[in-house]
Symmetry: D2
Subunit: 367 residues, 4 copies
Amino acid sequence: MPLRAAVIGAGYWGPNLVRNFRSSPDWDLVAVCDLDPARAARVVGDRSTVEVETSLEALLARPDIDAVAVATPAQTHCGIALAALEAGKHVLVEKPLASTLSDATRMVDRAEELGLVLMCDHTYCYTPPVQHLRALVHSGELGDILFVDSVRINLGLVQPDVDVFWDLAPHDLSILDFVLPHGLSPLEVSARGSDPIGAGNSCLGYLTMPIGHGAIANIHVNWLSPTKIRHTVVGGSRKTVVWDDLNPQQRLSVYDRGVDLELTAGTADAAEKRAVNVNYRLGDMYAPALPEREALGQMVTEFADSIHEGRAPLTDGRAGLRVLAVLEAASESQRRAGAMAPVALTDLYAQRHGLGQPVGVGVGLLR
Amino acid sequence: MPLRAAVIGAGYWGPNLVRNFRSSPDWDLVAVCDLDPARAARVVGDRSTVEVETSLEALLARPDIDAVAVATPAQTHCGIALAALEAGKHVLVEKPLASTLSDATRMVDRAEELGLVLMCDHTYCYTPPVQHLRALVHSGELGDILFVDSVRINLGLVQPDVDVFWDLAPHDLSILDFVLPHGLSPLEVSARGSDPIGAGNSCLGYLTMPIGHGAIANIHVNWLSPTKIRHTVVGGSRKTVVWDDLNPQQRLSVYDRGVDLELTAGTADAAEKRAVNVNYRLGDMYAPALPEREALGQMVTEFADSIHEGRAPLTDGRAGLRVLAVLEAASESQRRAGAMAPVALTDLYAQRHGLGQPVGVGVGLLR
Amino acid sequence: MPLRAAVIGAGYWGPNLVRNFRSSPDWDLVAVCDLDPARAARVVGDRSTVEVETSLEALLARPDIDAVAVATPAQTHCGIALAALEAGKHVLVEKPLASTLSDATRMVDRAEELGLVLMCDHTYCYTPPVQHLRALVHSGELGDILFVDSVRINLGLVQPDVDVFWDLAPHDLSILDFVLPHGLSPLEVSARGSDPIGAGNSCLGYLTMPIGHGAIANIHVNWLSPTKIRHTVVGGSRKTVVWDDLNPQQRLSVYDRGVDLELTAGTADAAEKRAVNVNYRLGDMYAPALPEREALGQMVTEFADSIHEGRAPLTDGRAGLRVLAVLEAASESQRRAGAMAPVALTDLYAQRHGLGQPVGVGVGLLR
Amino acid sequence: MPLRAAVIGAGYWGPNLVRNFRSSPDWDLVAVCDLDPARAARVVGDRSTVEVETSLEALLARPDIDAVAVATPAQTHCGIALAALEAGKHVLVEKPLASTLSDATRMVDRAEELGLVLMCDHTYCYTPPVQHLRALVHSGELGDILFVDSVRINLGLVQPDVDVFWDLAPHDLSILDFVLPHGLSPLEVSARGSDPIGAGNSCLGYLTMPIGHGAIANIHVNWLSPTKIRHTVVGGSRKTVVWDDLNPQQRLSVYDRGVDLELTAGTADAAEKRAVNVNYRLGDMYAPALPEREALGQMVTEFADSIHEGRAPLTDGRAGLRVLAVLEAASESQRRAGAMAPVALTDLYAQRHGLGQPVGVGVGLLR
């Protein structure tokens, strides 16, 4: 028996969710909800018995809906999600999870209290290259992570209400959260944005953060680039991966190349001097064969599976929280002209739940 | 009658200078000087009457040498260049001009006092794409410059004495100095470096600086990348150029694409609100035909021409100074965890020469 | 009022047609017909009132269907299309139009007799790059066509019943037919195929044909290539276009590059010798901005428009005929070890309709 | 003690040979010979004691020269090479070995009679990717060779006296000779050329030949392409290699991808029917790390080594013969409108030396 879903919001992202819920054997799409019934009807299409709803209350009151997917503007996520949770529905939310960290925290807390699944649609985490990248990192094949450089630029829709970091960086941050051995947990963040066209918000920028042991991650986001680049390098002490998402024939390239230092013990009279031998590995590259499948299809399957199994989904509300915490710190750093700003999440969670004692639906949600 | 040259330093870069002085009709290469005569002899090759010198003093004392090219370690540039200037030789110096801003200032001042040419080997400025890029900016075809993003990464030689900024960023900075309408003149710089392999210096990093009117330039340098990228975007209000130096068939691409904002006057009761129309230009791209010629050949010609014409070369000592001033500020910013550090040059020159009254060989050197 | 369509065949291509008829405002998709009702039902999807039919007769007998789209195996095209035409339906047929030239001729003749539209789904002709390419050729911007080189290779499905020419070359041939000033009208064709894996049919091959004035077109098709290439060069006396369909950011590149010969009149005593000056044009390249839109959406719109306007569609049955005539000649050439084989179409049509007097739905169908 | 060389011909290719003989520790470049002394002097350069000769006789009479490298027009190769051999010099000849197969045969025969090295400058065979490709084929890693597709196109110098096959295809043919398990030994060749600009010779064309067991090789050469492509695929039953020579970061890609057929024994009543299972391998790709070194440097070293060791060089005169035999057959095929033309070499050699009993300098030259 498939689970019964409704999609709330028939704007930019909603149709993609509709299409995937419709074609998934795990789901039965019952209704699409939008304030504009014509827009919802267009998404549903002709000769369809999927229902159109315009009232959120009416939708949530229906007993024949198990879960809702929210694809509305970010500032409405919290209200809709809390209402849906109160109505006993499992909830999937488009990224970012909410427009503020405190809103998001309320959503996560409430879902956990009610024992319902709250999932964040971090779509890229369900693509074959990101899933392979995660496996490469977690298996140790890359060694220690030395650096991450992620570029996500194109001629983009200049948003009236959010800056380019809030628009594009959630993708990179959710990928980092998914891929890094300990998830996304920087203590501080530096962000330098620029608004050279006078749009009112940063249209391009750079976000840098320490990711442990001297390593840093940098994210370059840009709405003003005439060309599209989706290019991420994850440098490891053993191997380094280049992910070029616009090269479908070779998205991932794993290089056995790098720099190794050998520290030799100095002699007595040169104790402070360390003698260093620099070795260059110049080995082969390989490009793993990756399946071609739509990420959103995998995502709605994971949503169903996590509901059936009573567990947190791979990209749960807490993953969304970690992303939001970095985005808020990035905004603070921008206000400080790029100086490092602390990431609030650790304190917040330490206060509330006790550090290292995360709780979730069933068992431990926090990685 | 060609000018007579000697090359000092037969290490990594010296052979390239030797080859170009040799094949230039403007120059007669008289000698190569190195402490190691075997190394110099190898560079000179068999069946050649180019002389090998091991003594700098002896070399500089020769009356049959008009100019020297210095390709020795950066910390020796100042001593060698000053000695050569005192001996009445014109001087070409490999980048960076010196290892400190104060050394470089002494070199520039002394050359100007003696009326000799002091040139900095900013090789990229003599490549066809950079010359074309400069023309595109200076002609106004790009409009106002909105952003510059420059990536220069590859598996590089980890240097024992300098960090990756001092090793690689001089290329990007000298290009910016050459291309930007007002040269390289940021008031402050932010640099975040990382040394994840424990080499003792930053092996990768990001350098950001304001370049006027809300625009920023960012430079990404990295010794640990398994792949080589040489990719610079110069975004303008009219057009945007992408320079991919590793694509010899299409190094420059000029895009008629971008985002235009139209600010509409608000009504009385909404005076603070500005109504903004966002327009997207989605025009064609063109790739200008560029000649294929060796940059160093152009560079040694410019060295000869500037001597003959008693003028500052295109990449004179002051260009080298401007690059060094940014590098020193970048080092200071790294010490401050990436916070903005002021660039010292303006003050220095204001003190010495009076702001806006630059002097040079003949006429105004400072752009 | 939208036209009412049915799709016949729910295999590989049918679902694409279903999706586009469904989302087109010009069409109402009434039914999907397949011998296997479960397969048809899967294509229709849940919560849909699009009907599933398993009987062709029943389908064609329905008065609420104006047109059918046939996506069944090639050898069944003729029978299905003729039945549909007899039932008064307009017909769209997947490429190739039929499995033999004589079948296809019957289809074209019958549609013309009945005044119904017979359209061939030459999908590529409805893509933005091919439409732009056609405009470049027809406007004269390229000058005379000097050569065409088309490569279509990838790891493909080895077909049990047809060779690689019949499987892949229809794409290239239909594009040539659409783009060339006089359509696809070679007098003879050479084809060299190879079956190195013992599949029973050529798995890779080369098809060469004269296209007038000394120019040739060559098509390389290959099922055994590990990488995918879709690369076509159309060389002209003024400009040359490179179409790389796998580069979505720059599918078309128009080069102002080429070789010009100037023939100079010889002197009296050297009358036979022609003095030739070779000039190389080395001008800029430009990449026209192209819209991103789905070709099949354009195609179903053209199907509707041609029915409403009582005219031949852009890719009508005769275009399908011309493609088939070349495919049959290619098979004959393969039997002759690659020697030139004549293309039968001209004779056939000269006999039947009188050369130069093509008839069609409304006005002249044959270019 | 290095061997002593002279380079004959200071035109297009001569300077490259001069540079490599000069920088090789195996060689002492004594003289450069050209009818135009100024041209030779320019190649030698200033401050050099390399001598300039204008008389071939005088050059060959010098006792201080062990070997000559011939870089003159093809029709002069035979005369110069025979004179040099008679003078006791080892000879290296630029490709093609001669302008006719019979000339080339005389050169090969005479060198073998005199026990002197006759080497053909098949430069590409000394590049790292071709050497690696040969190893991949010869080790069996690719399995049986199923097809070869080689594309060598660019805006090229239209030659007054030879067509594009004679100008460009020697590269591909010499590579095939070097790489294929049994060298270049097709029994017949088909070539279709085109001269759409009226240059007097084919400016673009396609050359196809069987290479055994149903496999074919195809070579596409073109002087009129606005872009440069150097792309060769060697398809094997186990793995397939793509060599893209214009991608210095990944010249070779080895794919574990392909199509496997399993022939199943039929049942009694279906004895003729073979049941075929088609299996697709969709494995990883790897790109071997390749050294960066100049091919001509390797080539002059091999020339020296073969002289010292009294053996045939890797690309000996007979390799040049095999290439010429295919070129002559290609010309014959063009005269026959692309029909297959036999390759003369086998007969020629069978007559002269007895098939399978090749003789050479020391031991067996013919692979």
